[in-house]
């Protein structure tokens, strides 16, 4: 039987990337709890408004799509302040307890990404009790008026419960202005809202599909897990929701009691500043030298073309791109979706089309990690090793991440890196260590699994700031051709961490129990 999820129990941001559902803007607000009992009353009020994953409709008995949404999550300290019993607290994962700041060495948050350069709110977090981030509240809206309405509602509650909770300011590197929230919105290009970030790439096309997700079957191709017969199946629910079987047919580690964890999950909140001037200059410089030209090079950085997200595996050069574009223009919505997401690296094992250090190959290698080079094969070539594992996606199915969030700020002057612009990325997974941290450490900031030495993800990598050992990456070519691989040398730091932390996203049931103070693991 097809898996049915209790959509009324799961928070809406777990199932939906709101940006794709007509909510182009949001505010993320962070709270400190001063008094536990008042904090719980506040959470109780919030919970009444929390948006679930339920499917919307205008028919009789259906729940209407709201004009604005509310979602809530907690840090470890937050759960402590809400007085969860110790025997529940000790069941949370070690990474969650430690928090993002303490995990900087694993995450590669060094140099300009080090915590001492983060936004004030994240610098003070886990440093001074009265500035600890305890609660995260996300307000997404269909338009600016509704966003104001939502924020007014939240501020009203803060006022009502001011004895016990306060909004934390400092969502910027300066305290003036205080920045009481993190503002995010889609990037507008030529007056049209887009799904792009500030470097010009379309974000999160390959967001995972898991069992029980509404309308998952239409979107599963290229987003689920690749099967040996070339088809796609949804990933196990337990990769993204606690209390459900994961890809190992086990329940992911979770705190007790079961009701606290079930239908809940972990969220990684990360603010990433984008160095647009450095990016443009680097692309311009190498674009002039790269034989395929600037736009193909930009596509090689990520694995997709900037104008429409066409994957390099399907459109590896200008000629094939024209054919792809014609197909895309002629396709219906489902066809367009398949063209953009339904691909594998099976015919690109040597990285000639999508390089090993391209962002989408690093973040989601699909079945491409089961690669092998035998003595006697063409130098530089890799091929599928069909005997390596039971399933072809064995090395990537347990490293997937749901990606939520939106860009923030506007790029007012592309010739400058500073200014307020970047993306807020929120990654949802059942196991922060196995999923987010592994991908960040092993695939984004290191290249060994891709047989790429210590080359990093071109876009996201924490590229060396030491001129003695600069970062590089290789753009592979067809090993059977006479073409020379292209070396990207002295790659600068394109993306810089500005803060973040690890959060627990409870189910609606758990939220109500937390608010009532009735979590009881005995």
């Amino acid at each position: 039987m097809t898996k049915q999820l209790d959509l009324l129990d799961i928070q809406g941001n777990v199932i939906r990337a709101y940006g794709r559902f007509g909510y182009p803007m949001a505010r993320y607000v962070f709270f400190n709890i001063k008094k536990s009992d008042v904090g719980r009353e506040f959470i109780s009020k919030i919970t009444e408004k929390v948006t679930t994953s339920v499917e919307w409709g205008n028919g009789v008995g259906e729940i209407r799509k709201p004009d604005w949404t509310v979602n809530v999550a907690f840090t470890y300290q937050g759960l402590k302040e809400l007085e969860l019993p110790t025997s529940s607290l000790i069941g949370f994962s070690a990474e969650f307890v430690a928090g993002m700041k303490q995990r900087k060495d694993i995450l590669g948050d060094d140099g300009p990404s080090a915590p001492e350069h983060w936004d004030k709110i994240w610098q003070r977090n886990r440093d001074q009790r009265e500035f600890d981030v305890h609660v995260f509240i996300a307000l997404n809206a269909t338009g600016p008026n509704f966003l104001e309405q939502a924020y007014d509602w939240l501020c009203g509650l803060e006022k009502e419960f001011s004895e016990g909770v306060k909004i934390l300011s400092g969502n910027s590197r300066e305290d003036d202005p205080p920045m009481d929230y993190q503002d995010v919105k889609v990037v507008i290009e030529h007056g049209v809202p887009t799904a792009k970030e500030h470097f010009g790439y379309t974000d999160a096309i390959g967001d995972p599909v898991f069992e029980g997700m509404p309308a998952g079957s239409q979107r599963v191709n290229g987003r689920g897990k690749q099967m040996n017969d070339g088809s796609w199946a949804p990933l196990a629910t337990g990769e993204f929701l606690l209390g459900h079987f994961d890809e190992a047919n086990e329940y992911p580690p979770a705190p007790e009691p079961r009701l606290l964890a079930r239908n809940g999950t972990y969220m990684v909140y990360r603010k990433l500043h984008e160095n647009v001037a450095t990016f443009d200059a680097y692309l311009e410089d190498h674009g002039q030298k790269y034989p395929g030209g600037k736009e193909l090079l930009a596509a090689k950085f990520v694995g997709r073309w900037r104008d429409n997200g066409a994957p390099l595996t399907a459109a590896p050069d200008a000629a094939s791109k024209r054919i792809f574009d014609a197909k895309l223009a002629a396709a219906d919505e489902q066809g367009r979706d398949d063209l953009l997401s339904d691909f594998t690296y099976d015919h690109d094992m040597s990285g000639a089309k999508c390089p090993f250090s391209a962002h989408i190959r690093r973040i989601n290698p699909r079945a491409s990690l089961q690669m092998v080079h035998h003595d006697g094969d063409t130098p530089g070539s890799m091929k599928v090793n069909p005997d390596a594992f039971d399933t072809c996606g064995a090395l990537s199915n347990r490293r997937r991440l749901l990606r939520r969030g939106l860009p923030y700020g506007d790029v007012k002057d592309r010739s400058r890196d500073d200014g307020n612009h970047g993306i807020i990325i929120m990654m949802i997974n059942a196991d922060i260590g196995r999923q987010f941290e592994f991908v960040q450490q092993q695939w984004v900031n290191y290249g060994n699994d891709f047989k790429a030495g210590n080359d990093k993800d071109v876009i996201l990598g924490n590229h060396s700031t030491d001129p003695e050992c600069p970062s590089k990456a290789v753009i592979q070519v067809d090993p059977d051709s006479d073409a020379a691989p292209y070396f990207l040398s002295k790659i600068p730091r394109l993306v810089v961490t500005r803060g973040g932390d690890y959060f627990f996203v409870p189910s609606l049931t758990a939220l109500r129990m937390i608010a009532d103070g009735v979590i009881d693991p005995t």
């Binding site: 030298k289 590089k472 020379a484 292209y486 070396f487 040398s489």
Partner: protein, 235 residues
């Protein structure tokens, strides 16, 4: 002892019993050995980096054997399950005694290139004084005063390495270090010469080959073993 060998790699396992005694400061010899080895970690580089052809090595002090679980009483356990008539005291009496070590041991495990005698001789010649620092607390080590007696002593302490994995190719260490050096230098060369015309690249290649001297294993190359990237010892 072919089981210690895989290709040109040799897996050495040494267990030397530490004397059951203590210093003037009333610290057990085994604890002094451990402290001494921990001190090696804090040096700028491991003394073992000076020992030729060491691929990977490890030292530790074995305090006692680790028990995975209580031992079983064999057939009597099954019998007592099937026939509860077997009294529990009888079943318990049939349990084997738990294994214990008679002393604490210094364990040295190393995988290296080449044959055992050459390796141990090289080790004695390179770091004889450092070896004494640690091994002088072990039974019988007072008889060691030369490379030959060291080799004989180590062979008496040797255990067979039946199962091991060498995460390295079969070449001597200096060849491997030179190969790594050449690979890295060549990557830099490729970056520096990207886009240049063939004549220039050929000229630069000649200069490059002269500089990196591919057949010279002694220089330029990477030094063996490196704890940390900076030259400063840990404070």
């Amino acid at each position: 002892m072919s089981s210690n060998v895989s290709g040109n790699a040799y897996a050495l396992t040494i267990l030397s019993p530490i004397k059951n005694s203590y210093t003037h400061e009333e610290i057990a010899y085994a604890d002094v050995v451990r402290e001494c080895l921990q001190g090696w970690n804090m040096e700028k580089n491991s003394p073992m980096a000076l020992v030729p052809n060491t691929y990977l090595c490890r030292y530790f002090v074995l305090d006692d054997v680790v028990n995975q679980s209580l031992p079983g009483a064999g057939a009597l356990d099954t019998l007592s399950d099937l026939l509860p008539l077997v009294p529990d005291w009888l079943r318990r009496r049939a349990l084997p005694a738990q294994d214990r070590l008679q002393s604490r041991y210094l364990v040295f495990a190393s995988t290296f290139h080449g044959d055992l005698d050459t390796y141990l001789r090289g080790m004695w010649e390179a770091i004889g004084a450092r070896i004494k620092e640690v091994w002088k607390y072990c039974y019988g080590f007072e008889q060691v005063d030369s490379a030959d007696t060291f080799i004989a002593y180590m062979k008496r302490c040797q255990l067979q390495s039946a199962l091991f994995f060498v995460g390295s190719n079969d070449d001597a260490l200096d060849s491997q270090l030179k190969a790594l050096y050449l690979k890295q230098e060549f990557a830099k060369f490729a970056i520096d010469n990207q886009g240049r015309d063939a004549t220039t690249i050929r000229q630069h290649m000649q200069a490059f080959l002269q500089r990196v001297d591919p057949t010279n294993l002694t220089a330029p190359t990477w030094p063996a073993g490196k704890y940390r990237l900076t030259d400063e010892a840990a404070s």
